[in-house]
């Protein structure tokens, strides 16, 4: 429906806003252009309706090269919603919605019917709202009318330039939901610019991530979250949002540092004393170089308390994991051996930390919130 072919935009003064962009947007698809400010997303959008003229390359809308059409004619076929809402303050709701139909010289009965139809679609009673002026509407109502105004003349494509950016978070969410519902009723091709990743993930069929005038990644929300193309994408999405398979989360992200350790040659009473001090029921037994040897649990000490033994003599051997092992591995170990914890060591067998059932749960909770 909308195709970018090697599109480049260089502004007077030599700033390159968009560099050799290629993109194919299918009919009925909602594509979100997103990126940090100055990445070229708005320039790309405005080149579609030629509010900005490309320096080179071609943009094809519905099979027609936009350069071959008169700019005014082109823009009447393409709906346009901007962040500032920009309803005409001297026209009432009906007058605003009727803007493009009037430019296209529709009959007044047809226009009036269309206005009522659109208002009904967003649950605004036509009789109540038709004759109101923008100054008599709330921000959310104003932008609803802004969207209706863009849809009025059945455009082939709808361009939305940060349409909900100026609204408060609650209203923004409402309008996003409404846009989703609206799309089920009217399947429009929509190009949507935003800098809000949550909005992009929520609304986009596909997301186009841009940086410094170039496309970094094009994928579905799911695809971008699963396989970010590079570190830029990863940081832009935010670590928290990434969908991470358990085998990609590493042990050191989950482990607790400073586990309670004690040397193997220490006596049982010393061990019991340390447990009391640290409020733990198990000790990691280490050699003089902090190398991991095994584990002593409180029950074992109590059983052997009458004998003169060192901790090293009563300790049991215990599985261990490396820092860079995956959490999946640890969880498997824990489940298989019914373990409450697993010590974490480095390549030299030095104690680095400990993974407990609680620390795994905490990590998951943290990640989900």
């Amino acid at each position: 429906m909308v195709t970018f072919e090697n599109v480049t935009k260089i502004y007077p003064g030599g700033v390159t806003a968009v560099k050799d962009m290629n993109l194919n947007i299918a009919k009925g698809e909602l594509v979100v252009l997103i990126g940090p400010s100055g990445c070229g997303k708005t320039s790309s959008l405005k080149m579609i309706n030629r509010l900005i003229e490309p320096s080179s390359g071609k943009i094809i809308v519905n099979g027609i090269d936009t350069q071959k059409l008169d700019g005014v004619e082109l823009r009447r076929r393409i709906g346009y919603v901007i962040q500032d809402i920009a309803l005409f303050p001297h026209k009432n709701v009906a007058g605003n919605i009727a803007t493009v139909p009037r430019l296209k010289k529709w009959h007044s009965e047809r226009i009036q019917a269309r206005v009522d139809e659109l208002l009904t679609m967003v649950d605004m009673d036509p009789a109540l709202f038709r004759n109101r002026y923008p100054s008599e509407l709330s921000g959310g109502q104003q932008q609803r009318i802004g969207v209706l105004r863009a849809l009025a003349a059945e455009p082939e494509v709808l361009l939305m330039d940060e349409p909900f950016g100026a609204l408060d978070p609650i209203t923004r969410e409402q309008l996003q939901d409404e846009l989703k519902r609206l799309r089920q009723k009217v399947k429009k091709t929509i190009v949507f610019v935003t800098h809000d990743m949550d909005e992009a993930l929520k609304l986009g069929d596909r997301i186009v991530l841009m940086k410094e005038g170039r496309i970094v990644q094009v994928d579905t929300p799911e695809g971008i979250l699963r396989e970010p193309a590079n570190d830029f994408v990863r940081s832009f999405i935010g670590e928290k949002r990434l969908i991470r398979q358990p085998d990609k989360v590493m042990v050191h992200e989950v482990m607790l540092t400073n586990p309670t350790c004690i040397e193997a040659d220490k006596g049982l009473h010393q061990g019991l004393e340390l447990m009391r001090e640290e409020s733990v029921d198990s000790l990691l037994i280490v050699d003089e170089l902090q190398g991991f040897l095994g584990v002593v649990e409180v029950q074992t000490i109590q059983l052997n308390l009458t004998q003169r033994k060192s901790l090293g003599e009563i300790m049991s051997s215990w599985p261990r994991v490396l820092e860079k092992d995956s959490v999946k591995e640890v969880v498997k170990l824990m489940v298989a051996g019914d373990l409450r914890f697993v010590p974490v060591v480095d390549e030299k067998n030095h104690i680095k930390g400990i993974v407990t059932r609680a620390s795994v749960v905490n990590f998951v909770l943290d990640y989900m919130s």
């Binding site: 509010l51 920009a86 005409f88 803007t99 923008p134």
Partner: protein, 219 residues
């Protein structure tokens, strides 16, 4: 004999002078609107020229009114023509400036939205910019007209007629009644026209923006 009796007795003369007076002020205003409004619109499209032209207009405003009238004499001779010409020059500046600022104060996002929906430049001007600027433009016209009615009394000095002639005759004969029968109607006309144009301004301001407009009066 009170001033009112005096004026009543000379009602016909006062009426004639009042009509002459209004004719001078109104012709100057209309001619000026004809030039200044299109020029003001043109300047919003040519930013580089705007500073220069608006500056030039300011210079005209600094010439003392009587002096400007005198300048017109050798060019246009005696009568109401030089008076109209001088007042025309005076009116240009405020009308042009208000047209210019009226259009300039329209939010750029509205222009972008209008353009983005496929309005032509002319449709944007006539459908968006002018309706939104109309109250500022009319405020300029109203204030200018009131000033012109005041200055039109000076037309009498160069044989242009008007209420100034009564004042001038009264001054030379030290006849207070005569002075007042020129001055009172002149003041009355100024007040009346302010009132009428104020109503017109309100009527012509689109309903949706009546509440929100802040009147931009001339300095």
């Amino acid at each position: 004999m009170t001033i009112f009796e005096y004026m009543f007795r000379n009602a016909e003369l006062i009426a004639t002078r009042s009509l002459e007076h209004l004719f001078i002020a109104t012709s100057a205003l209309l001619l000026s609107m004809l030039v200044a409004i299109p020029l003001g619109i043109f300047l919003t499209r040519r930013e580089s020229l705007a500073k220069f032209i608006l500056g030039l207009g300011n210079i005209i405003m600094t010439i003392p009114s009587l002096a400007l009238l005198a300048f017109m004499l050798p060019i246009l001779g005696i009568g109401n023509k030089p008076a109209i010409a001088a007042l025309f020059l005076y009116a240009l500046m405020p009308i042009m400036r208000n047209t210019y600022t009226g259009i300039k104060q329209v939010q750029p996002s509205l222009i972008e939205a209008a353009k983005g929906m496929g309005m032509t430049d002319f449709q944007i001007l006539s459908g968006i910019e002018l309706p939104l600027a109309i109250s500022v433009i009319l405020a300029g016209i109203r204030t200018t007209y009131v000033i012109l009615i005041g200055w039109a009394t000076l037309a009498a000095f160069i044989g242009g007629g008007g209420l100034g002639q009564l004042i001038w005759a009264g001054l030379t004969n030290i006849n207070y009644n005569l002075i007042l029968s020129g001055a009172i109607p002149a003041a009355g006309l100024a007040l009346l026209s302010d009132l009428v144009l104020g109503q017109l301004e309100y009527k012509l301001t689109p309903r949706g923006i009546r509440k929100s407009i802040k009147r931009k009066e001339l300095a």
